[in-house]
Amino acid sequence: MRGMVRGVVRGAVRGVLRGVKRRVGGILAGILELLREIADENAYARHLAEHGAAHSGAEWRKFSDERFRQKYQQVKCC
């Protein structure tokens, strides 16, 4: 009986931990995605995919020149 209760509790705890792990993992992945977006790394990946180009120094410079030109024409708030 005690073993069964222990098993049920252990199973429940494991389930909760798995859920927490999945959720924490999801949050961390979301944060990393946000950081990559703010860092323009995702935008660069989209640029490469759109132009069918491979990553190179010249390609990054082409992308970043256009990206920065647009970005720094926008106001930032106080």
């Binding site: 990054w60 926008q74 106001v75």
Partner: protein, 686 residues
């Protein structure tokens, strides 16, 4: 809504009412900062769940079946379908600057209550509504800017006035934020070294990204952040070494350095300095905001500042003017900020994949910024009031020596001693903390106290103080050089309509000439602020606040016009209410700043008093030229304040004319919304 949900929301409403009641009725006893946090968080939840939802469904009628500009006009550059939380992060990074940190710290001179209530109520019913409606308006108009929307919906005059107002506000904004940096770094070798070190670090990052490891932005940002941390540590060593005199600068010397820096930073290629520092400052900003929130939740400090101080009568040393209207223009970002309307009609509407995402991004981001302002208010109010006033009151008000300052401040009923201030200055690694006006040093002391209580004690106070100063200065400098660039583009845009070649943004003589013109304009006001005997913050921050809130007036009148065209008078109150409040606040504040007979408050009274002193021969020698300059500047400030008010009055009258026409049926409700296109994304998760 099910019964459980109803009960939950009823509990949230009760919690908000109880916590707001607790902070509103506390008198004479200390209250815990958690009351402010809970009151704000629950009010935002209610505002978001009910008011934002009401606006989204009944007024805007957001429809996910309707394709957004990001979907219809996707080009991979500015029109890009983007995940809503990423748009949220980018929008928040663009709207949150030093304003929500500095404004509440300055307004704490009235006590914690007026500013806190304004931050919460202003954001829920004013600021978030403005950001949300303008975002919606721009999204339904192909992502057009506020100026373009104003031109189409209100008229040509509104569009041009909006452009001129934005340019003028930008100049005052850049001056006042650079003054905050100057006041924080003057006489501080530790702080000056740390900030100076961020420039070669940014250049190194720029070269790394451009040539050595192209595209590795996160990687170099981590390296840059570690180097900045090292410079904060290194600054302590510098401040006690033989190099200290090199980094110990007067306010005027720092102002000149910042002006020279501003010119070069705005004229240099963006990839070299501006972009890498922009990345670094965004990451540090987001990180510190999270850290501060965690720190406050862990430490739960008691507020030392009373609910109200005696200075609600207008005799405050930080800035002159009564709690009404000056509390409401001192805190702009954090409650209502007109500047946000430029971002809500900038890149953000071009990235939303679904119309309903405008609610979390437009309304929700403002809630978060308002929460940052609450945290800044807490950081200021956990200080002993005597210490707060010793840091924030200018020498021209409390006296230039420690003895006179503590005697004056203690005489106001806020006891503080010279020994207490000396010990505090020593513990944060500064020579003195008296009259370090501008808000940044007192915010840094408050933040350092919270972090130090979280772990490390007094040993780490100096590190956290300088970390906070670095954090504020870093993104202020980013605003300075990107703002100068944007100002140059705006000026070229305006003058290019007179003579086409002047509008060419890649023309080198134009880059140099227009950069110099913009830097010269804000630099002039910066020098004026440094020379001001009452501390430049006293004149420049209210001027900036008035201008920013007047821009909010323009945005809200455009928003009202749009709502009127959609529904008639039925929902006008949503934007008309905050508009009316802002008109009353800004015009009465502007009127007092120009015409008040009190010299500490009214620009003209200050000029007249100084002129009378000159005429009576009370000023002699080198002080004559300086006094003449202060007189000229006070009259110039009066002129600029008057100009802002006239410009906004023009837009308001123009809008009123259109509203009356619509309400009387003599004008058609011709809204300029883009035609409906069915979305292919409506069933998808995003």
């Amino acid at each position: 809504m099910g019964i459980v949900k109803r009960l939950l929301w009823a509990a949230v409403a009760c919690g908000a009412a109880i916590s707001l009641g607790a902070i509103a009725t506390s008198r004479g006893e200390q209250i815990n900062s958690m009351w402010l946090v809970i009151a704000a968080a629950l009010s935002y939840m209610l505002g978001y769940r009910f008011y934002a939802k009401f606006i989204a469904t009944k007024v805007m009628m957001l429809n996910d079946e309707r394709a957004t500009p990001a979907e219809r006009m996707e080009n991979g550059h500015d029109y890009v379908i983007t995940n809503k939380w990423i748009v949220f992060g980018q929008h928040f990074a663009a709207i949150a600057g030093p304003g929500p940190l500095v404004g509440p710290v300055l307004a704490a001179q009235f006590g914690f209550l007026p500013g806190t209530l304004w931050i919460i109520i202003g954001a829920v019913f004013g600021g978030a509504v403005q950001d949300f409606v303008i975002l919606f308006a721009s999204m339904r108009r192909d992502g057009k800017s506020l100026g373009q929307i104003a031109r189409e919906e209100v008229g040509k005059v509104g569009g041009i006035v909006a452009l001129v107002t934005v340019l003028l506000i930008m100049i005052i904004l850049l001056a006042v934020v650079s003054l905050v940096v100057v006041n924080a770094l003057a006489g501080s070798p530790w702080g000056t070294f740390t900030i100076a070190a961020t420039m070669p670090i940014a250049v190194l990052m720029g070269l790394y990204l451009r040539y050595w490891r192209p595209g590795r932005v996160l990687e170099i940002s981590v390296i840059g952040f570690l180097l900045v941390l090292a410079s904060v540590f290194g600054g302590q060593w510098i401040s006690t070494s033989s190099l200290a005199p090199m980094f110990t600068m007067s306010a005027m010397a720092l102002a000149i350095w910042i002006i020279v820096y501003g010119f070069f930073a705005s004229a240099l290629p963006v990839w070299l300095l501006l972009a890498p520092r922009g990345y670094l400052s965004t990451f540090v900003k987001l990180g510190v905001i999270v850290l501060l929130a965690v720190g406050i939740l862990l430490v739960r400090p008691e507020l030392q500042m009373p609910a109200f101080t005696r200075f609600i009568d207008g005799t405050g040393p930080v800035f002159a003017g009564k709690v009404f209207p000056f509390c409401f223009i001192t805190i702009a970002c954090g409650a209502v900020s007109g500047f946000h309307s430029l971002i809500s009609s900038g890149t953000t509407p071009k990235m939303l994949s679904k119309e309903t995402h405008a609610t979390p991004v437009g309304y929700g981001c403002m809630m978060l910024e308002s929460f940052v302002a609450i945290m800044a208010m807490i950081a200021a109010c956990v200080l002993d009031p005597g210490v707060y006033f010793a840091i924030n009151a200018p020498g021209g008000v409390v006296g230039k020596t420690a003895e006179t300052a503590v005697a004056t401040i203690s005489g106001w009923g806020f006891p503080v001693t010279a020994e207490q201030m000396a010990a505090l200055a020593h513990s944060v690694g500064e020579a003195t903390l008296f009259s370090r006006t501008g808000g940044a040093p007192s915010f840094a002391v408050g933040m350092a106290h919270i972090f130090a209580k979280g772990g490390g004690g007094d040993v780490v106070l100096g590190f956290w103080y300088h970390f906070a100063i670095m954090f504020e200065a870093l993104f202020i400098l980013t605003i300075l050089d990107s703002g100068t660039r944007v100002g140059r583009f705006m000026l070229q845009d305006l003058l290019g309509q007179v003579w086409k070649p002047l509008g060419r943004t890649g023309w080198m003589p134009g880059i140099i000439g227009f950069s110099a013109a913009i830097v010269g304009a804000w630099g002039y006001f910066l020098v004026q602020g440094v020379r001001d005997p009452l501390g430049g913050v006293n004149s420049l921050w209210p001027l900036f606040g008035i201008a920013n809130q007047l821009l909010a007036g323009i945005a809200l009148s455009v928003a009202t016009t749009i709502i009127l065209k959609m529904h008639g008078a039925k929902f006008m109150w949503i934007t008309c209410g905050p508009l009316l409040w802002l008109v009353v606040v800004t015009f009465s504040a502007g009127w007092q700043k120009i015409f008040s007979p009190i010299p500490a408050l009214g620009f003209l009274a200050q000029a007249n008093q100084l002129q009378a002193g000159l005429d009576a021969g009370k000023v002699a020698g080198a002080a004559v030229a300086q006094t003449q300059a202060v007189i000229f500047n006070a009259r110039l400030d009066a002129g600029i304040c008057g100009l802002f008010m006239v410009l906004v009055a023009v837009v308001l009258i123009d809008s009123l004319r259109i509203w009356l026409g619509i309400l009387q049926g003599t004008r058609e409700r011709n809204s300029m919304e883009s035609p409906f296109v069915l979305s292919r994304l409506s069933g998808e998760e995003a």
